[in-house]
Each structure stands twice: as structure tokens, then as C-alpha cells.
């Protein structure tokens, strides 16, 4: 016979609070077995208290960073003091969905975690972990940073990477295209986009993502001719203007750039983040009425590069059926 | 006849805590030493049947006191009292002739079993 009201009254108020609070709360013992699991954890993980209590946390969540987490909890048992993890250093511990609208470019709940000792006398008998949703804070912070970046872009340069911004790049492109229309000759353009960039932000945090963009821009700048306009075209998209360059020559440049990006992982705070890029190449031709059409061509080429496996260069051609794909498997010179 | 006891520690607080940890009805004569040299002096004067010895003292550490006493035919029951309880420290102290090792801060509950085990208090 169930008596929900009576049951509720039987639970102490604090138990009710722990159950209903908008904060993930769970308790583990020395062997990482779960002793307590509140509703927030249940709702966000899909696993109920009954399913996880009494078992190792890692049995229920095999994707957790085992070594890191074990060490964190162990430090609390051994030293009897608090331990913490901030979203800025580690975006999340549990891969939960956040319940914000799809803004902020954040896929998962950003989390601040606290590890507290639960003591009886002088002995730590269990560790209580709280998971606080920091997604709002992280979004606000990102928005603030983006607003600042936009202000900086009032000039011609991208605030983050220091290379030219999209506005300026397009202006240059427009001029070069007009010149090509008048005088003829060659005009090529490269467009490259970092692969799986969202995943980099997700796994390593936005600070790391920014560092990757900055470093990539620096590396590419170092291997291209200074005279050619190099700009940030989008979030993780870069463009290079190559006036007086044939499409074959442009392809060589594209490969050089692509290999430069992929050669060395980017070091952020001692962590090595691997990076690759997909690249599209296009040259101005009679069918292009204006510079926008040329941009569409190179965009389509980039798209094909992504679709056919990423970390490769694809050249736009006049005949769609003769797409030329340069595989990434070619060994570096 | 009261047992002669030396409490050697450079910290006043530690000496007080140690004194307080002794059984209330233990028949003892206590001499205090504030450094290793004084501890050794008290030992040579026959005042240390039992010695509670701190390890980190100025002007002669607890280790040095133990070494000196070993050379002089160790004739005292030494109980080392220290904050550092890592196994290496304990072993070193044992090999130098100490009979027991108690972690600071010393409580009556921790001390009593040690005294009883070695027949120093019944």
C-alpha cells in the first residue's frame, strides 16, 4: 500500500531538499561506490538511484575520466579538505545536456564541481560531490568576450588572431576581383576550416579553442607570402587571397597550409590539442559574375573536402563531375 | 618509588600537551628538556628511565640524541613523539633504539596502550 503523503512526511526536510535542489549531489565511498544519488543526477544522467547505488561510479559511467576523478576523491579522503573543479579548466565532468536554448554554441552542461569530506569525528567516511550548472555563466562570459571582440573588429583586424577580419578581407577580394575583371590574368582563393572545432571547444574548453585559432593563424602566416591577404573568414574559417596565381599553384599553397596546420598539435597550458583543416581552392573564371560567385565556388569546394573525409584539399572545377580530390594520406615532404 | 621521566621538546605547547597525556595517577618524576643537549644531560644524570623525545629540536635533534645514547649503552626507554609519521621516519627511529613511536598531538587514549604494552604503567 503506498502512501505518498505519509512517505513525504517520513523523510526529513533536509532529505527533501537534497532530493529536489537544482544541484547534482551524490556521495561516494573510498572504493568509488555510490552511496547517495539525488534527483538532479537521476534526471540528467538517466540512471536512477536504485541503478547506481552500491555500484562503482565507473561501472555506471565508463566515460568519466577515471584517473583524474579517482585522484581528486582520494585527495579528499587523505587530506580531509575540499577539492574543486571549475568549468573554465575542465568544461564538464558528466556529459549532461544543458537545458538552455541553442545559443552560446555549447553542447553540454558546463559544470563547477565541489568535492567535500563527510567526517565522523576526525575520519573522512565518504566524499560528497556537487555538480553545479555553470552553463549560464559560461554563455554570458562567452557573449561578453564576443562583444569585446566585435568592438575590436571595428578596425580591420580580428581581435583574437590579429589577422585581417572578414570585412576587410572581403573588401580586398572585391578590389582584386574587379581588377581581374578589367585586366584578366589569374586570381585564386583558398578557404580552409578547422576540423571538428566544436569538439575541441567541448573537450578542452573555449580558452583552448581560442588558443588553437591564434596559433593556427600564426603558423599559417609564417608560411605564406606576406603580400597576400590572409584573413579570418568565420568562427574557425580562414581565407587566403592569391592574386596572380593559377589554380595549380594555389593547390600547392593550399597543401602547404593544410600540412602546416596538421603537423604539430597546439600546446595549450601543457595540453597537446591535435588540429587539422579541410581546404577548398577556387580560381576566378568567366562564369563568375561577381566576387560572391567566386566565394560560392570555393565554399562548395571546401564543403566537398569536408564531406569526403576532412583534412584534405579539394579544388573547384568547371565540370562538377571531375572533382579532384587530394587525399590526406600523402606523406609530408 | 617514582619513575623518572624526561619530556624533551622545544615547544612549550608540546610539552604541555605531552604532560597532559600522561595518566593522572602515574607515579613519576618529570624533568623537562627544551633541546637535545638538555635531554642528553638529563639522561646522563640518571633522570630518564623513560624519555619522550621530539625529533625536530634545535641544537641537537632527537635523532642525534638517540645516536649519542646508543653509544653510551642506551639505558632508557625512549618513546619518540613526532608529527612526521611516514614509515621511513619510524624505521629510522626504531633502528636507532627507540622502543615506540607516537604521533603528535599525543592524547591519553593513544599513549595508554603503549605504556601498558611495555609494562611501564599497569
Amino acid at each position: 500500500m503506498s502512501d505518498p503523503v505519509g512517505k513525504a512526511l517520513d523523510c526529513s526536510l533536509s532529505e527533501l531538499v537534497v532530493e529536489r535542489v537544482g544541484l547534482g549531489i551524490f556521495v561516494v565511498d573510498r572504493d568509488m561506490n555510490v552511496q547517495m544519488w539525488n534527483r538532479f543526477m537521476h534526471e540528467h544522467s538517466g540512471l536512477s538511484a536504485q541503478q547506481v547505488i552500491g555500484r562503482s561510479l565507473f561501472d555506471s559511467f565508463p566515460d568519466l575520466p577515471r584517473e583524474w576523478l579517482t585522484r581528486k576523491v582520494k585527495s579528499v579522503f587523505l587530506l580531509g579538505s575540499f577539492a574543486f573543479s571549475s568549468w573554465e579548466q575542465r568544461p564538464y565532468l558528466f556529459r549532461f545536456e544543458h537545458d538552455r536554448p541553442i545559443t552560446g554554441g555549447v553542447d553540454h552542461m558546463q559544470q563547477n564541481c565541489t568535492f567535500m569530506p563527510l567526517t565522523r569525528g576526525r575520519e573522512v567516511v565518504a566524499v560528497c560531490v556537487t555538480i553545479a550548472d555553470a552553463t549560464d555563466v559560461s554563455i554570458v562570459q562567452r557573449e561578453r568576450e564576443e562583444a569585446l571582440a566585435k568592438l575590436r573588429e571595428y578596425a580591420n583586424h580580428d581581435g583574437l588572431t590579429g589577422i585581417t577580419n572578414r570585412r576587410y578581407f572581403e573588401a580586398q577580394l572585391r578590389d582584386e576581383f574587379a581588377r581581374w575583371q578589367r585586366q584578366g590574368g589569374e586570381l585564386s582563393i583558398l578557404l580552409f576550416d578547422l576540423d571538428h572545432f566544436k569538439k575541441i571547444n567541448d573537450e578542452f574548453g573555449h580558452v583552448a579553442g581560442d588558443a588553437v585559432l591564434r596559433t593556427t593563424a600564426q603558423r599559417v602566416s609564417a608560411v605564406i607570402r606576406p603580400g597576400n591577404t590572409f584573413g579570418r573568414f568565420g568562427g574557425e574559417e580562414f581565407a587566403l587571397l592569391l592574386p596572380g596565381t593559377t589554380i595549380d599553384e594555389a593547390m600547392l599553397v593550399a597543401e602547404k597550409v593544410r600540412l602546416t596546420i596538421g603537423a604539430e598539435p597546439v600546446q595549450v597550458d601543457g595540453v597537446r590539442v591535435p588540429v587539422t583543416a579541410s581546404c577548398g581552392v577556387a580560381a576566378a573564371r568567366a562564369q563568375n559574375d561577381d566576387y560572391v560567385s567566386l566565394v560560392n565556388d570555393v565554399d562548395a569546394a571546401l564543403y566537398t573536402a569536408k564531406q569526403t573525409g576532412r583534412n584534405r584539399t579539394h579544388i573547384a572545377t568547371t565540370k562538377p563531375s571531375l572533382a579532384q580530390i587530394i587525399p590526406a594520406a600523402r606523406p609530408a615532404p | 618509588m617514582p619513575l623518572s621521566v624526561v619530556i624533551a621538546d622545544d615547544s612549550l605547547l608540546a610539552r604541555k600537551v605531552m604532560t597532559k597525556a600522561l595518566p593522572q595517577d602515574w607515579d613519576v618524576d618529570i624533568t623537562y628538556a627544551t633541546n637535545g643537549r638538555e635531554a642528553l644531560q638529563a639522561y646522563r644524570a640518571g633522570k630518564a628511565s623513560v624519555m619522550f623525545l621530539d625529533l625536530t629540536m634545535p641544537d641537537m635533534t632527537g635523532f642525534q640524541v638517540l645516536e649519542a645514547m646508543q653509544h653510551e649503552d642506551l639505558n632508557s626507554f625512549v618513546i619518540v613523539v613526532s608529527a612526521d609519521v611516514q614509515p621511513i621516519a619510524r624505521e629510522r627511529v626504531r633502528s636507532l633504539g627507540a622502543m615506540a613511536f607516537i604521533a603528535k598531538p599525543v592524547t591519553p587514549e593513544a599513549l595508554l596502550p603503549v605504556l601498558k604494552e611495555h609494562g611501564l604503567y599497569v
Binding site: L79, S81, F84, V271, R272 | Q86
Partner: protein, 207 residues
């Protein structure tokens, strides 16, 4: 020279308490890192906040670029714990902490995270021990970075830190033959200093 915060006897008691705290921290740390940790006897000194940078410099010879982490604690006695170390040593520490096998990228700690971790562990263990002996159980807030590559004077800027007293505790620890020096500074305001004095007197008067 400013008026001393503690009497000689109180200072002695504080030194002993810090010794014990380091001993307990060493045991815990060595188990945690699965390595032999040697913690030296800490030097303890209390100064007015305005003199903290200079006093720390004298005590430790620390000059040049330092990294400082702050962490608040409260519970009767409240204040802030600063953990300061040479910025250059962090990279060495990182290599050590990561171990020979290296961890998967998912598990690797960034250097900032490592600094926070070490600061949290040192401050947590030592401050908890000290306050526990004084009869208080502290609750900590998450660590925050004051800065990396700063000078000591920048760390103790009066507008950034509004406390009255700095209790300087120099902790040297060696890990696997590598020497690291981490300096713990506990900052407190007048009311807490009073509570600490009372607690010390109680401990001393117990006999």
C-alpha cells in the same frame, strides 16, 4: 616595526601547531602522490599586511616571477589562504605530476589546473590542520588565480587584499629528490586574529 600580533608563548604554540599541520599534510600528500614527501619544519612569522611582501622576500629569497593562488576559508576563524610559488617551477612540477606514461588527452590536466590542484591540496591540508587544532573546521571556496608571472608586490597589493594580518608559513617540500618550495600565507582580519589568540591561550592554559 609594527606591534606584534602574538606573544612569544603564543607564537611558540603557533609554530608547534604549524609543525603538526605539516607533518599531517606530509603523510597525506605522500600517500596521495604515492611518493616520499619530505616537508621541512615550517618557518612561521606574522606581519601586518603592508609588510607581507617584504617579509616573505626576506624569509624565502623569493624574487622574480611568481604564481599566486587564493582560496577563502571560513568557520569562526576566517580569512584567505594564498599559495605562492616560482612561476618557473610549475612546468617542472607538471612534468612530475603527469608521470612517465602520460595520461590520455581527456584526463590530462592543464598547467593552471595543476597549480590549482597543488594550491588546493597544500592550503587545504595545512590550513585545515592548523584550524582543526584551534578548534575550528574550515569550509573552503574554490581556488582562484591572483596571477602568474607576477612580482610579490603585485600579489600583496593593498587594494586587492583587504586583510589586517599575514601569517607567513614557509613550506619546503621535496618530492622524489626534486625540491619545490611552496609558500603558504594565511591572511586574516582583526576579529579572526582575536579568535586565534584566544584559541592559543586555551590550548596553552589546558594544563
Amino acid at each position: 616595526m609594527s606591534e606584534p600580533f602574538f606573544t612569544e608563548t603564543q607564537r611558540d604554540a603557533l609554530q608547534e601547531i604549524s609543525n603538526l599541520a605539516m607533518g599531517m599534510a606530509a603523510t597525506g600528500l605522500s600517500e596521495l602522490l604515492d611518493a616520499f614527501i619530505e616537508l621541512s619544519v615550517p618557518r612561521v612569522r606574522s606581519v601586518a599586511i603592508g609588510e607581507a611582501a617584504q617579509a616573505l622576500r626576506e624569509m624565502t629569497g623569493l624574487d622574480g616571477a611568481v604564481t599566486a593562488v587564493r582560496q577563502s576559508f571560513r568557520s569562526g576563524i576566517k580569512g584567505e589562504a594564498l599559495v605562492i610559488c616560482r612561476s618557473g617551477e610549475i612546468a617542472d612540477l607538471a612534468v612530475l605530476a603527469r608521470g612517465p606514461g602520460g595520461e590520455s588527452p581527456h584526463e590530462t590536466m592543464s598547467e593552471i589546473e595543476l597549480v590549482f590542484d597543488i594550491a588546493n591540496v597544500v592550503a587545504g591540508a595545512c590550513v585545515s590542520s592548523i584550524l582543526d587544532q584551534l578548534g575550528a573546521t574550515p569550509v573552503f571556496s574554490p581556488p582562484g588565480l591572483i596571477g602568474g608571472g607576477m612580482s610579490l608586490d603585485e600579489v600583496f597589493r593593498p587594494d586587492a587584499l583587504t586583510w589586517d594580518m599575514a601569517l607567513l608559513i614557509e613550506v619546503n617540500f621535496s618530492l622524489e629528490d626534486q625540491n619545490f618550495r611552496v609558500h603558504l600565507v594565511m591572511l586574516m582580519a582583526q576579529e579572526s586574529i582575536r579568535i586565534v589568540r584566544d584559541a592559543l591561550d586555551t590550548l596553552l592554559g589546558e594544563t
